[in-house]
Protein backbone atom coordinates (compact mmCIF):
# COMPACT_ATOMS: atom_id res chain seq x y z
CA UNK A 1 0.00 0.00 0.00
CA UNK A 2 1.29 3.45 -0.83
CA UNK A 3 1.95 5.88 2.00
CA UNK A 4 -0.90 8.20 1.08
CA UNK A 5 -3.43 5.37 1.08
CA UNK A 6 -2.02 3.97 4.31
CA UNK A 7 -2.32 7.31 6.08
CA UNK A 8 -5.68 8.23 4.57
CA UNK A 9 -7.17 4.79 5.31
CA UNK A 10 -6.56 5.36 9.00
CA UNK A 11 -4.18 2.41 9.25
CA UNK A 12 -1.23 2.93 11.63
CA UNK A 13 1.35 4.07 9.07
CA UNK A 14 4.98 2.97 9.24
CA UNK A 15 7.78 4.90 7.59
CA UNK A 16 11.51 4.94 7.90
CA UNK A 17 14.37 6.73 6.21
CA UNK A 18 17.61 6.16 4.37
CA UNK A 19 20.50 8.53 3.94
CA UNK A 20 22.41 8.35 0.65
CA UNK A 21 26.19 8.10 0.96
CA UNK A 22 28.86 10.48 -0.27
CA UNK A 23 29.72 9.17 -3.71
CA UNK A 24 28.13 7.21 -6.51
CA UNK A 25 28.03 3.81 -4.78
CA UNK A 26 24.35 2.96 -4.23
CA UNK A 27 24.80 -0.67 -3.17
CA UNK A 28 24.14 -0.02 0.53
CA UNK A 29 20.91 1.91 -0.14
CA UNK A 30 19.77 -0.79 -2.57
CA UNK A 31 20.44 -3.53 -0.01
CA UNK A 32 18.40 -1.64 2.57
CA UNK A 33 15.61 -1.13 0.02
CA UNK A 34 15.48 -4.89 -0.61
CA UNK A 35 15.13 -5.57 3.12
CA UNK A 36 12.47 -2.88 3.67
CA UNK A 37 10.34 -3.79 0.67
CA UNK A 38 6.82 -4.74 1.75
CA UNK A 39 7.60 -4.02 5.41
CA UNK A 40 7.00 -0.25 5.53
CA UNK A 41 4.53 2.13 3.91
CA UNK A 42 7.07 4.76 2.96
CA UNK A 43 10.81 5.41 2.93
CA UNK A 44 12.11 8.94 3.40
CA UNK A 45 15.31 9.88 1.63
CA UNK A 46 17.16 12.63 3.46
CA UNK A 47 18.33 15.72 1.58
CA UNK A 48 22.00 16.48 2.33
CA UNK A 49 21.31 15.67 5.98
CA UNK A 50 23.19 17.81 8.50
CA UNK A 51 24.30 19.93 5.53
CA UNK A 52 26.78 17.21 4.52
CA UNK A 53 27.08 16.92 0.73
CA UNK A 54 26.16 13.51 -0.71
CA UNK A 55 24.14 11.72 -3.36
CA UNK A 56 20.82 13.49 -3.87
CA UNK A 57 17.44 12.63 -2.47
CA UNK A 58 15.76 12.96 -5.88
CA UNK A 59 17.95 10.36 -7.62
CA UNK A 60 17.77 8.00 -4.65
CA UNK A 61 13.97 8.30 -4.48
CA UNK A 62 13.81 7.41 -8.17
CA UNK A 63 15.89 4.27 -7.49
CA UNK A 64 13.48 3.33 -4.71
CA UNK A 65 10.48 3.77 -7.06
CA UNK A 66 12.19 1.35 -9.47
CA UNK A 67 12.56 -1.12 -6.59
CA UNK A 68 8.83 -0.92 -5.89
CA UNK A 69 8.99 1.16 -2.69
CA UNK A 70 7.07 4.38 -2.03
CA UNK A 71 9.70 7.04 -1.31
CA UNK A 72 9.22 10.31 0.57
CA UNK A 73 11.32 12.97 -1.17
CA UNK A 74 12.79 15.15 1.57
CA UNK A 75 13.41 18.72 0.42
CA UNK A 76 15.24 21.35 2.39
CA UNK A 77 15.06 25.08 1.66
CA UNK A 78 18.79 25.51 2.29
CA UNK A 79 20.35 24.77 -1.11
CA UNK A 80 17.95 25.72 -3.89
CA UNK A 81 16.05 28.81 -4.91
CA UNK A 82 12.42 28.69 -6.02
CA UNK A 83 13.36 27.93 -9.64
CA UNK A 84 15.41 24.86 -8.72
CA UNK A 85 12.91 23.69 -6.07
CA UNK A 86 9.99 23.82 -8.49
CA UNK A 87 11.99 22.17 -11.25
CA UNK A 88 13.01 19.35 -8.90
CA UNK A 89 9.36 18.90 -7.92
CA UNK A 90 8.43 18.49 -11.60
CA UNK A 91 11.33 16.06 -12.05
CA UNK A 92 10.24 14.09 -8.99
CA UNK A 93 6.71 13.74 -10.29
CA UNK A 94 7.94 12.52 -13.67
CA UNK A 95 10.10 9.93 -11.91
CA UNK A 96 7.07 8.53 -10.09
CA UNK A 97 7.72 10.13 -6.71
CA UNK A 98 4.45 11.07 -5.00
CA UNK A 99 5.38 12.13 -1.45
CA UNK A 100 7.41 15.14 -0.47
CA UNK A 101 8.53 16.17 3.01
CA UNK A 102 9.46 19.80 3.47
CA UNK A 103 12.05 20.98 6.00
CA UNK A 104 14.09 24.16 6.35
CA UNK A 105 17.40 22.31 6.57
CA UNK A 106 20.46 22.61 8.79
CA UNK A 107 22.62 25.66 8.18
CA UNK A 108 25.72 25.08 5.97
CA UNK A 109 28.09 25.83 8.86
CA UNK A 110 26.83 22.66 10.62
CA UNK A 111 27.94 20.48 7.70
CA UNK A 112 31.07 19.72 5.68
CA UNK A 113 31.00 22.67 3.25
CA UNK A 114 30.98 25.42 5.83
CA UNK A 115 31.83 28.17 3.37
CA UNK A 116 28.71 27.54 1.25
CA UNK A 117 26.11 30.25 0.71
CA UNK A 118 22.79 29.42 2.34
CA UNK A 119 19.71 30.04 0.20
CA UNK A 120 16.33 29.92 2.04
CA UNK A 121 14.74 31.80 -0.87
CA UNK A 122 11.60 30.04 0.34
CA UNK A 123 11.07 28.93 3.93
CA UNK A 124 9.37 25.63 4.71
CA UNK A 125 5.86 27.12 4.90
CA UNK A 126 6.38 28.86 1.56
CA UNK A 127 7.70 25.64 -0.02
CA UNK A 128 4.64 23.69 1.19
CA UNK A 129 2.52 26.48 -0.32
CA UNK A 130 4.50 26.13 -3.56
CA UNK A 131 3.87 22.36 -3.75
CA UNK A 132 0.19 23.10 -3.26
CA UNK A 133 0.31 25.59 -6.15
CA UNK A 134 1.95 23.03 -8.42
CA UNK A 135 -0.60 20.37 -7.44
CA UNK A 136 -3.18 22.93 -8.55
CA UNK A 137 -1.50 23.25 -11.94
CA UNK A 138 0.44 26.50 -11.57
CA UNK A 139 3.97 27.56 -10.75
CA UNK A 140 4.82 30.32 -8.28
CA UNK A 141 4.89 32.94 -11.01
CA UNK A 142 1.30 32.03 -11.89
CA UNK A 143 2.15 30.23 -15.13
CA UNK A 144 0.08 27.21 -16.06
CA UNK A 145 1.86 23.85 -15.92
CA UNK A 146 1.51 21.48 -18.81
CA UNK A 147 0.76 18.49 -16.62
CA UNK A 148 0.40 19.23 -12.93
CA UNK A 149 2.01 17.48 -9.99
CA UNK A 150 0.22 15.22 -7.51
CA UNK A 151 2.17 15.27 -4.28
CA UNK A 152 1.15 14.15 -0.82
CA UNK A 153 2.91 16.79 1.25
CA UNK A 154 4.38 16.22 4.69
CA UNK A 155 6.01 18.56 7.16
CA UNK A 156 7.89 18.25 10.43
CA UNK A 157 7.12 19.31 13.97
CA UNK A 158 9.07 19.19 17.23
CA UNK A 159 6.67 17.93 19.89
CA UNK A 160 8.88 18.55 22.93
CA UNK A 161 10.52 21.92 23.51
CA UNK A 162 12.73 23.43 26.15
CA UNK A 163 11.05 26.86 26.18
CA UNK A 164 7.47 28.09 26.07
CA UNK A 165 8.29 30.20 23.01
CA UNK A 166 9.62 27.21 21.10
CA UNK A 167 6.65 25.00 22.04
CA UNK A 168 4.09 27.64 21.06
CA UNK A 169 5.91 28.46 17.83
CA UNK A 170 5.88 24.77 16.88
CA UNK A 171 2.10 24.58 17.30
CA UNK A 172 1.46 27.87 15.50
CA UNK A 173 3.70 26.79 12.61
CA UNK A 174 2.04 23.37 12.49
CA UNK A 175 -1.29 25.13 12.03
CA UNK A 176 0.20 27.44 9.41
CA UNK A 177 1.78 24.52 7.53
CA UNK A 178 -1.60 22.77 7.44
CA UNK A 179 -3.28 25.94 6.16
CA UNK A 180 -0.91 26.03 3.17
CA UNK A 181 -1.11 22.33 2.30
CA UNK A 182 0.66 19.97 4.75
CA UNK A 183 -1.26 16.68 4.90
CA UNK A 184 0.81 14.76 7.44
CA UNK A 185 3.57 15.37 9.99
CA UNK A 186 6.69 13.54 11.07
CA UNK A 187 8.10 14.46 14.46
CA UNK A 188 11.49 14.83 16.06
CA UNK A 189 12.50 11.69 18.00
CA UNK A 190 10.34 11.16 21.10
CA UNK A 191 11.42 9.29 24.25
CA UNK A 192 8.84 10.45 26.80
CA UNK A 193 5.21 9.36 26.57
CA UNK A 194 3.89 12.07 28.88
CA UNK A 195 5.46 14.94 27.01
CA UNK A 196 4.26 13.53 23.68
CA UNK A 197 0.76 13.07 25.06
CA UNK A 198 0.67 16.71 26.18
CA UNK A 199 1.68 17.77 22.68
CA UNK A 200 -0.85 15.51 20.95
CA UNK A 201 -3.65 16.77 23.18
CA UNK A 202 -3.14 20.19 21.59
CA UNK A 203 -2.17 18.99 18.09
CA UNK A 204 -5.19 16.69 17.81
CA UNK A 205 -7.45 19.69 17.14
CA UNK A 206 -5.79 20.09 13.72
CA UNK A 207 -6.99 16.61 12.68
CA UNK A 208 -3.91 15.98 10.55
CA UNK A 209 -2.08 12.63 10.90
CA UNK A 210 1.10 12.68 12.99
CA UNK A 211 3.80 10.02 12.63
CA UNK A 212 5.84 9.93 15.82
CA UNK A 213 9.61 9.97 15.34
CA UNK A 214 11.63 7.11 16.84
CA UNK A 215 15.44 6.92 16.91
CA UNK A 216 16.67 3.60 18.40
CA UNK A 217 19.34 4.16 21.04
CA UNK A 218 22.68 2.51 20.28
CA UNK A 219 24.65 3.48 23.35
CA UNK A 220 24.74 5.64 26.45
CA UNK A 221 27.06 8.02 24.63
CA UNK A 222 24.61 8.47 21.78
CA UNK A 223 21.78 9.28 24.19
CA UNK A 224 23.90 11.81 26.04
CA UNK A 225 25.13 13.35 22.79
CA UNK A 226 21.57 13.84 21.54
CA UNK A 227 20.45 15.33 24.86
CA UNK A 228 23.26 17.82 24.67
CA UNK A 229 23.25 18.64 20.96
CA UNK A 230 19.98 17.79 19.24
CA UNK A 231 17.21 20.32 19.72
CA UNK A 232 13.97 18.77 20.92
CA UNK A 233 15.46 15.40 21.90
CA UNK A 234 15.16 14.52 25.59
CA UNK A 235 16.22 10.98 26.55
CA UNK A 236 15.19 10.36 30.19
CA UNK A 237 17.85 9.17 32.66
CA UNK A 238 15.96 5.87 33.25
CA UNK A 239 16.43 4.92 29.60
CA UNK A 240 20.09 5.92 29.67
CA UNK A 241 20.55 3.76 32.81
CA UNK A 242 18.79 0.87 31.16
CA UNK A 243 21.14 1.12 28.18
CA UNK A 244 24.12 1.35 30.51
CA UNK A 245 23.21 -1.83 32.37
CA UNK A 246 22.37 -3.87 29.28
CA UNK A 247 24.92 -6.47 28.19
CA UNK A 248 23.68 -6.57 24.61
CA UNK A 249 23.31 -2.88 23.76
CA UNK A 250 21.93 -3.58 20.31
CA UNK A 251 19.17 -5.86 21.57
CA UNK A 252 18.34 -3.37 24.33
CA UNK A 253 18.23 -0.43 21.89
CA UNK A 254 15.84 -2.29 19.60
CA UNK A 255 13.70 -3.42 22.53
CA UNK A 256 13.40 0.16 23.87
CA UNK A 257 12.46 1.42 20.39
CA UNK A 258 9.71 -1.21 20.13
CA UNK A 259 8.49 -0.41 23.64
CA UNK A 260 8.36 3.31 22.80
CA UNK A 261 6.36 2.61 19.65
CA UNK A 262 3.87 0.52 21.61
CA UNK A 263 3.54 3.16 24.29
CA UNK A 264 3.00 5.98 21.82
CA UNK A 265 0.99 4.36 19.05
CA UNK A 266 -2.44 5.01 20.53
CA UNK A 267 -1.64 8.73 20.69
CA UNK A 268 -0.87 9.20 16.99
CA UNK A 269 -1.47 7.89 13.48
CA UNK A 270 1.85 6.31 12.63
CA UNK A 271 5.54 5.97 13.32
CA UNK A 272 8.59 7.27 11.51
CA UNK A 273 11.73 5.28 12.42
CA UNK A 274 15.02 7.10 11.92
CA UNK A 275 17.46 4.23 12.33
CA UNK A 276 20.68 6.19 11.57
CA UNK A 277 22.79 3.29 10.29
CA UNK A 278 20.48 0.55 11.61
CA UNK A 279 18.14 0.66 8.60
CA UNK A 280 18.47 -3.10 8.13
CA UNK A 281 17.22 -3.64 11.69
CA UNK A 282 13.95 -1.76 11.11
CA UNK A 283 11.98 -4.97 10.33
CA UNK A 284 13.22 -6.39 13.64
CA UNK A 285 11.97 -3.32 15.54
CA UNK A 286 8.59 -3.69 13.81
CA UNK A 287 8.45 -7.35 14.78
CA UNK A 288 9.29 -6.60 18.40
CA UNK A 289 6.58 -3.90 18.36
CA UNK A 290 4.20 -6.45 16.82
CA UNK A 291 3.60 -4.18 13.86
CA UNK A 292 4.96 -6.66 11.32
Amino acid sequence: MALREAIESGKFAVTTEVGPLKGTDTSEVMEVAEILKGKVDGVNVTDQQSAVMRLGSLATCALLVEKGLDPVFQMTCRDRNRIALQSDLLSAHVLGIRNVLVISGDFPTLGDHIDAKDVYDLDSEQLIWTVNHMNGGHDLAGNELKGKTDFFTGAVVKPVSDTEASAELQLAMMEKKISVGARFFQTQAVYEGDAFERFMKRAAQFKVPVLVGIIPLKSVGMARYMNKNVSGVFVPEELIDEMGKAEDKTAKGLEIAARLINGLKDLCQGVHIMAIGWEKKVPEILQLAKLA
Partner: protein, 231 residues
Amino acid sequence: MLRSEQKPFDEIKGYLEGEKKVFILGCDGCAQSSQTGGMPQVLAMKKLLEGAGKKVTGYTVIDFLCQKALVASRLCPLEDTVMEADSLVVLTCGVGVQAVAAMVHKPVHPGCNTISLGGSRGEWRGTERCLECGDCLLHYTGGICPLTACSKSLRNGACGGASDGRCEVSPEKPCGWELIYERLKEVGRLDQLKQFIPPKDWNKQRPRPELLSTSLWALEQENETSEEGRG
Protein backbone atom coordinates in the same frame (compact mmCIF):
# COMPACT_ATOMS: atom_id res chain seq x y z
CA MET B 1 21.71 57.30 6.23
CA LEU B 2 18.84 55.03 5.35
CA ARG B 3 16.31 55.72 2.64
CA SER B 4 12.68 54.85 3.11
CA GLU B 5 9.46 55.26 1.21
CA GLN B 6 5.95 55.22 2.57
CA LYS B 7 3.93 52.05 2.25
CA PRO B 8 0.67 52.36 0.32
CA PHE B 9 -1.95 53.76 2.71
CA ASP B 10 -4.24 50.75 2.15
CA GLU B 11 -1.51 48.46 3.51
CA ILE B 12 -1.13 50.63 6.63
CA LYS B 13 -4.92 50.76 7.02
CA GLY B 14 -4.99 46.96 6.79
CA TYR B 15 -2.54 46.70 9.70
CA LEU B 16 -4.95 48.75 11.84
CA GLU B 17 -7.94 46.47 11.35
CA GLY B 18 -9.79 46.12 14.64
CA GLU B 19 -7.90 49.03 16.20
CA LYS B 20 -9.54 52.39 16.90
CA LYS B 21 -6.86 54.59 18.44
CA VAL B 22 -3.41 55.19 17.08
CA PHE B 23 -0.32 57.24 17.90
CA ILE B 24 1.86 58.45 15.00
CA LEU B 25 5.62 58.69 15.32
CA GLY B 26 7.98 60.27 12.82
CA CYS B 27 11.74 60.65 12.74
CA ASP B 28 13.73 63.80 12.18
CA GLY B 29 16.70 61.87 10.89
CA CYS B 30 16.82 59.93 7.66
CA ALA B 31 13.01 59.68 7.41
CA GLN B 32 12.79 63.46 7.43
CA SER B 33 15.33 63.67 4.59
CA SER B 34 13.56 60.88 2.74
CA GLN B 35 10.35 62.90 3.13
CA THR B 36 8.61 59.86 4.57
CA GLY B 37 8.53 60.58 8.30
CA GLY B 38 9.14 64.26 8.99
CA MET B 39 6.45 66.51 10.49
CA PRO B 40 4.71 67.21 7.15
CA GLN B 41 4.35 63.47 6.51
CA VAL B 42 3.20 62.82 10.07
CA LEU B 43 0.50 65.48 9.73
CA ALA B 44 -0.56 64.07 6.36
CA MET B 45 -0.76 60.58 7.90
CA LYS B 46 -2.88 61.99 10.75
CA LYS B 47 -5.35 63.39 8.22
CA LEU B 48 -5.49 60.10 6.31
CA LEU B 49 -5.99 58.03 9.46
CA GLU B 50 -8.70 60.35 10.75
CA GLY B 51 -10.33 60.15 7.35
CA ALA B 52 -10.31 56.38 7.76
CA GLY B 53 -12.19 56.70 11.04
CA LYS B 54 -9.25 56.31 13.45
CA LYS B 55 -8.71 58.46 16.51
CA VAL B 56 -5.18 59.83 16.58
CA THR B 57 -4.33 60.08 20.28
CA GLY B 58 -1.14 61.97 19.59
CA TYR B 59 1.82 62.39 17.29
CA THR B 60 5.39 63.56 17.42
CA VAL B 61 8.63 63.58 15.50
CA ILE B 62 11.80 62.48 17.28
CA ASP B 63 15.40 62.68 16.24
CA PHE B 64 16.42 59.88 16.02
CA LEU B 65 14.13 56.87 16.28
CA CYS B 66 17.03 54.48 15.69
CA GLN B 67 18.34 55.38 19.16
CA LYS B 68 16.35 53.62 21.88
CA ALA B 69 17.40 55.97 24.69
CA LEU B 70 16.16 58.97 22.69
CA VAL B 71 12.92 57.18 21.85
CA ALA B 72 12.26 56.50 25.53
CA SER B 73 13.23 59.95 26.83
CA ARG B 74 11.28 61.85 24.16
CA LEU B 75 8.17 59.71 24.51
CA CYS B 76 8.11 60.05 28.31
CA PRO B 77 6.24 63.38 28.38
CA LEU B 78 3.69 61.94 25.93
CA GLU B 79 3.19 58.71 27.84
CA ASP B 80 -0.56 59.23 28.40
CA THR B 81 -1.40 59.69 24.74
CA VAL B 82 0.90 56.83 23.72
CA MET B 83 -0.68 54.50 26.28
CA GLU B 84 -4.20 55.53 25.22
CA ALA B 85 -3.52 54.28 21.69
CA ASP B 86 -4.10 50.67 20.63
CA SER B 87 -0.94 50.81 18.57
CA LEU B 88 1.64 53.07 16.95
CA VAL B 89 2.23 53.81 13.28
CA VAL B 90 5.92 54.56 12.87
CA LEU B 91 7.06 56.47 9.83
CA THR B 92 10.72 55.64 9.54
CA CYS B 93 13.26 52.96 8.60
CA GLY B 94 13.25 49.36 9.84
CA VAL B 95 15.81 50.18 12.54
CA GLY B 96 13.59 52.93 13.97
CA VAL B 97 10.47 50.77 13.97
CA GLN B 98 12.34 48.04 15.83
CA ALA B 99 13.81 50.50 18.35
CA VAL B 100 10.33 51.87 19.07
CA ALA B 101 8.90 48.35 19.39
CA ALA B 102 11.63 47.52 21.87
CA MET B 103 10.79 50.53 24.06
CA VAL B 104 6.98 50.78 23.86
CA HIS B 105 4.91 47.85 25.06
CA LYS B 106 2.37 48.23 22.28
CA PRO B 107 1.89 46.80 18.79
CA VAL B 108 3.93 48.80 16.30
CA HIS B 109 3.13 49.10 12.59
CA PRO B 110 5.75 50.12 10.03
CA GLY B 111 4.51 52.94 7.81
CA CYS B 112 7.49 52.75 5.48
CA ASN B 113 9.57 50.30 3.52
CA THR B 114 13.32 50.73 3.88
CA ILE B 115 14.92 50.62 0.47
CA SER B 116 18.38 49.41 -0.27
CA LEU B 117 21.25 51.80 -0.69
CA GLY B 118 23.49 48.89 -1.59
CA GLY B 119 25.75 49.09 1.42
CA SER B 120 25.64 52.72 2.49
CA ARG B 121 25.46 53.08 6.26
CA GLY B 122 26.10 55.60 8.96
CA GLU B 123 23.07 56.01 11.20
CA TRP B 124 23.17 55.85 14.96
CA ARG B 125 21.91 52.34 15.42
CA GLY B 126 21.78 50.12 18.47
CA THR B 127 21.17 46.38 18.40
CA GLU B 128 18.39 46.59 15.80
CA ARG B 129 19.25 45.63 12.24
CA CYS B 130 17.41 46.41 9.01
CA LEU B 131 18.22 44.57 5.78
CA GLU B 132 16.68 47.34 3.67
CA CYS B 133 14.53 44.68 2.02
CA GLY B 134 12.07 47.19 0.59
CA ASP B 135 9.03 45.29 1.90
CA CYS B 136 8.84 45.71 5.66
CA LEU B 137 7.40 42.75 7.60
CA LEU B 138 7.68 44.27 11.08
CA HIS B 139 3.90 44.51 11.46
CA TYR B 140 3.65 40.71 11.50
CA THR B 141 6.61 40.02 13.74
CA GLY B 142 6.15 42.23 16.78
CA GLY B 143 8.56 44.86 15.54
CA ILE B 144 11.53 42.45 15.42
CA CYS B 145 12.91 41.80 11.95
CA PRO B 146 12.94 38.08 11.07
CA LEU B 147 15.37 38.72 8.22
CA THR B 148 18.06 39.99 10.57
CA ALA B 149 17.12 38.36 13.89
CA CYS B 150 16.87 34.82 12.42
CA SER B 151 20.12 33.34 11.08
CA LYS B 152 18.23 31.71 8.22
CA SER B 153 16.04 34.81 7.63
CA LEU B 154 12.95 32.60 7.85
CA ARG B 155 9.75 34.58 7.37
CA ASN B 156 7.13 32.20 8.72
CA GLY B 157 8.61 30.89 11.96
CA ALA B 158 11.52 29.20 13.69
CA CYS B 159 13.55 26.39 12.11
CA GLY B 160 13.18 24.32 15.30
CA GLY B 161 16.91 24.07 15.90
CA ALA B 162 17.19 26.39 18.90
CA SER B 163 18.30 25.08 22.30
CA ASP B 164 17.30 26.94 25.45
CA GLY B 165 16.35 29.90 23.31
CA ARG B 166 19.78 30.12 21.65
CA CYS B 167 20.27 30.03 17.88
CA GLU B 168 21.52 26.75 16.45
CA VAL B 169 23.72 28.54 13.92
CA SER B 170 25.21 31.08 16.33
CA PRO B 171 24.66 29.96 19.94
CA GLU B 172 25.99 33.30 21.20
CA LYS B 173 22.78 34.96 20.02
CA PRO B 174 19.13 34.34 20.91
CA CYS B 175 16.73 32.60 18.53
CA GLY B 176 15.13 35.49 16.64
CA TRP B 177 11.78 33.75 16.42
CA GLU B 178 11.65 33.08 20.15
CA LEU B 179 12.20 36.84 20.64
CA ILE B 180 9.39 37.50 18.18
CA TYR B 181 7.13 35.11 20.10
CA GLU B 182 7.86 36.82 23.41
CA ARG B 183 7.23 40.26 21.94
CA LEU B 184 3.96 39.26 20.26
CA LYS B 185 2.84 37.71 23.53
CA GLU B 186 3.73 40.89 25.40
CA VAL B 187 1.62 43.05 23.09
CA GLY B 188 -1.23 40.56 22.87
CA ARG B 189 -0.79 39.75 19.17
CA LEU B 190 0.12 36.04 19.14
CA ASP B 191 -2.54 35.67 16.43
CA GLN B 192 0.05 37.13 14.03
CA LEU B 193 2.03 33.85 14.25
CA LYS B 194 -0.65 32.19 12.13
CA GLN B 195 -0.41 34.76 9.34
CA PHE B 196 1.23 33.18 6.28
CA ILE B 197 3.89 35.40 4.69
CA PRO B 198 4.14 34.55 0.96
CA PRO B 199 7.49 34.26 -0.85
CA LYS B 200 9.44 37.48 -0.87
CA ASP B 201 10.21 39.61 -3.90
CA TRP B 202 13.97 39.83 -3.47
CA ASN B 203 14.20 42.39 -6.27
CA LYS B 204 12.91 44.94 -3.81
CA GLN B 205 16.14 44.42 -1.88
CA ARG B 206 18.28 45.30 -4.88
CA PRO B 207 19.52 48.89 -4.72
CA ARG B 208 17.99 51.05 -7.40
CA PRO B 209 20.65 52.28 -9.81
CA GLU B 210 20.03 55.92 -8.97
CA LEU B 211 20.64 55.21 -5.29
CA LEU B 212 24.02 53.62 -5.91
CA SER B 213 25.45 57.10 -6.10
CA THR B 214 25.66 59.06 -2.84
CA SER B 215 22.39 59.37 -1.05
CA LEU B 216 22.76 63.15 -1.01
CA TRP B 217 23.06 63.14 -4.77
CA ALA B 218 19.97 60.99 -4.98
CA LEU B 219 18.02 63.43 -2.83
CA GLU B 220 19.15 66.36 -4.97
CA GLN B 221 18.05 64.49 -8.08
CA GLU B 222 14.69 63.82 -6.53
CA ASN B 223 14.22 67.46 -5.52
CA GLU B 224 15.10 68.61 -9.00
CA THR B 225 12.63 66.18 -10.50
CA SER B 226 9.84 67.21 -8.18
CA GLU B 227 10.54 70.90 -8.83
CA GLU B 228 10.40 70.26 -12.55
CA GLY B 229 7.14 68.44 -11.97
CA ARG B 230 5.72 71.45 -10.20
CA GLY B 231 6.78 73.84 -12.93
